[in-house]
Amino acid sequence: MFQLTGFTASFGSATALRRADLTIRQGDRLGIVGESGSGKTMLALCLMGMAPDAAQLDGRLEIDGHDMTHATETAWQHMRARRVAMIFQEPMAALNPLRRVGDTVMEPMIVHERLGRDQARQRALSLFEEVGIPDPVARLRQFPHELSGGQRQRVLIALALACNPDLLIADEPTTALDANVALRITDLLVRLATERGMALVFITHDLAAVARATQDIVVMYGGDMVERGTTAEVLADPAHPYTKGLLGARPDPTAQARDHNGKRRRLPTIPGTVPPLFSLPQGCRFAGRCPVEIPRCATNRPAPQDLGANRIAACHLLRGQRP
């Protein structure tokens, strides 16, 4: 139902998203991982029709077969909330501070579905119950500053669900929350997606959360989708050097804090940083930081290779079979 084909978003010479191919079907739970600046959020905003005005879009973005690549703001307003909804990173700042949270959650129902206030309040109440907000009748009348971070994120989830969207995009929904609350929000999103048969795109750099929440995964680097497959397989046996590096950078709680010489072990990292958008290499975006780079990498973009069983990775060193 949501389909990207060779979709590109660029700002002049800087490409934030390069020829992305992606299909999201009903009930899919898809994780998108990558460092800051890898194009994850850009991808999400494009799916909402909320790419910045300065972005040039190319390729094709379809929703149920309708080409939305260059759709007008009005056309997108009909899609948002009803077809695709999104929750954002900072629950502290994402709610209008002057409005009772109930009014915020009811607004899209009143605007899009022309519900009366009483009907909207009924639905808001049942949504608050569904997302696990205790004492929903009292909460409806509270202001954001009267709620905790976790409660606010639940309110934002209720807001996103207000008009029964087919796809829910969660952009790092747990980054600003403490670990305990983050886990519960992640499980809540999975439960809601399963119960409602709603597709979920879960954007994060928390690999544990991805493993917990999603069936499929897309690994992004520098605006490219470098690897894709089922979450279990990609995490167990990464094909792309970047994915390997990303997985290698997870702290291992079982490792000794000191090595056999008694020196403090450093956490493993991927050397270097993501270059700024305008100075990314023309070929493979990972060239320059890649441990197994060959001369071609910097100039030729590796084509996505089908590795079988829905595994796809874009690397010159993969020749149609697993290395």
Binding site: M48, M50, E73, T74, W76, Q77, H78, M79, R80, A81, R82, A85, M86, F88, E90, A93, A94, L95, N96, P97, L98, E107, P108, V111, H112, F143, H145, L156, L159, A160, A162, C163
Partner: protein, 314 residues
């Protein structure tokens, strides 16, 4: 919340008291001898002394201050030296005109400034934004009395759509409103130029915040996001300026009423100053000051109405 209200109300009363002391003190150290003004230069010393006694000018300052405040609280500001009628009657006759002018000026200012400011913010760095910014720069630079004269030249003298000045009273409401159109516009244009800028920058600040993105992500139209989500959050600085502008509008009527020859409080204060009409000037200055202090008091209360977070802190 109750504590906040109490504190602001006490502050309001104390400010008014302080203002009354300053007004009284200034009026009584000003040069010019009221009996001399009333009786003229040919008056005999005996007559002057008698009048001075009759006006109570020989009493100690404190006694005179207390009786002035006491009487003022009972809407008695004494007898005007030049008009020979109670000052309260003079004020009562002229108050409706000045209040209409100030309220209409404020209303036009709010409508113009909010729509232009929000419009400019939504077209940030586009032609519409530059247009509004250019016009408001012009509006700020132009003095109200000069703008009034230009308006009279165009709409009264050249096009003959509206009267150039004067006021025939409220008996013919249509004519009365027609004579108030140009003064209102002259008052409002300058103020809305300032307020449009404040509105624009405050709205731009709010538009960068996350909850605006949330509102857009809920599929709300740009217009709805601007008026229902951005504007309320931009209101605190706007209301601050509006409070100050209401004061400026009320005092601005002094100039405008003289330019348009309108019989309001502004003209009265001007005439009374020329006539050394101490009781009238004193009452009017106090009245204008009280309006300004009240406007600021209302603004203070509005903050809490606008932003529920302040209730906790206040």
């Amino acid at each position: 919340m109750a504590y906040f209200l109490l504190r602001r109300t006490v502050g309001f009363v104390l400010t008014l008291l302080a203002v009354s002391v300053v007004v009284f003190a200034v009026m009584n150290v000003l040069p010019g001898d009221p009996p001399l003004t009333i009786l003229g230069l040919d008056a005999t010393d005996d007559a002057l002394a008698a009048l001075r006694e009759q006006l109570g000018l020989n009493e100690p300052l404190l006694t005179r201050y207390i009786s002035w405040v006491w009487n003022a609280l009972h809407v008695d500001f004494g007898i005007s030296h030049s008009f020979r009628v109670p000052v309260s009657t003079l004020i009562g006759e002229r108050l409706p005109l000045t209040v209409s002018l100030a309220v209409a000026g404020m209303a036009v200012t709010l409508i113009l400034a909010l729509s232009l400011g929000i419009g400019a913010a939504s077209k940030h760095r586009q032609v519409g934004d530059w247009g509004v910014m250019f016009l408001s720069q012009l509006g700020i630079a132009v003095p109200a009395f000069w703008l009034s004269m230009l308006l009279v030249l165009l709409f009264a003298v050249k096009l003959r759509w509206l009267p150039p000045g004067g006021f025939a009273g409220w008996s013919d409401p249509v004519a009365a409103m027609r004579s108030l159109v140009l003064p209102t516009v002259a008052l409002a244009l300058v103020q809305s130029a300032v307020l449009a800028r404040v509105t624009r920058s405050s709205a731009l600040e709010v538009m960068r915040q996350d909850f605006v993105r949330t509102a857009r992500a809920s599929g709300l139209s740009r217009r709805r996001v601007l008026w229902r989500h951005v504007l309320p959050n931009a209101l605190v600085p706007i209301v601050t300026i509006v409070g100050m502008q209401f004061a400026a509008l009320v005092t601005g009527t002094i100039v405008i009423e003289n330019v348009f020859y309108l019989p309001g409080l502004g003209r009265l204060i001007f005439q009374s100053i020329s006539n050394r009409d101490l009781p009238t000037v004193q009452a009017l200055v106090m009245l204008f000051a009280a309006i300004v202090v009240t406007a600021n008091f209302i603004v203070d209360l509005l903050y809490v109405v606008i932003d529920p977070r302040l209730k906790v802190r206040a």
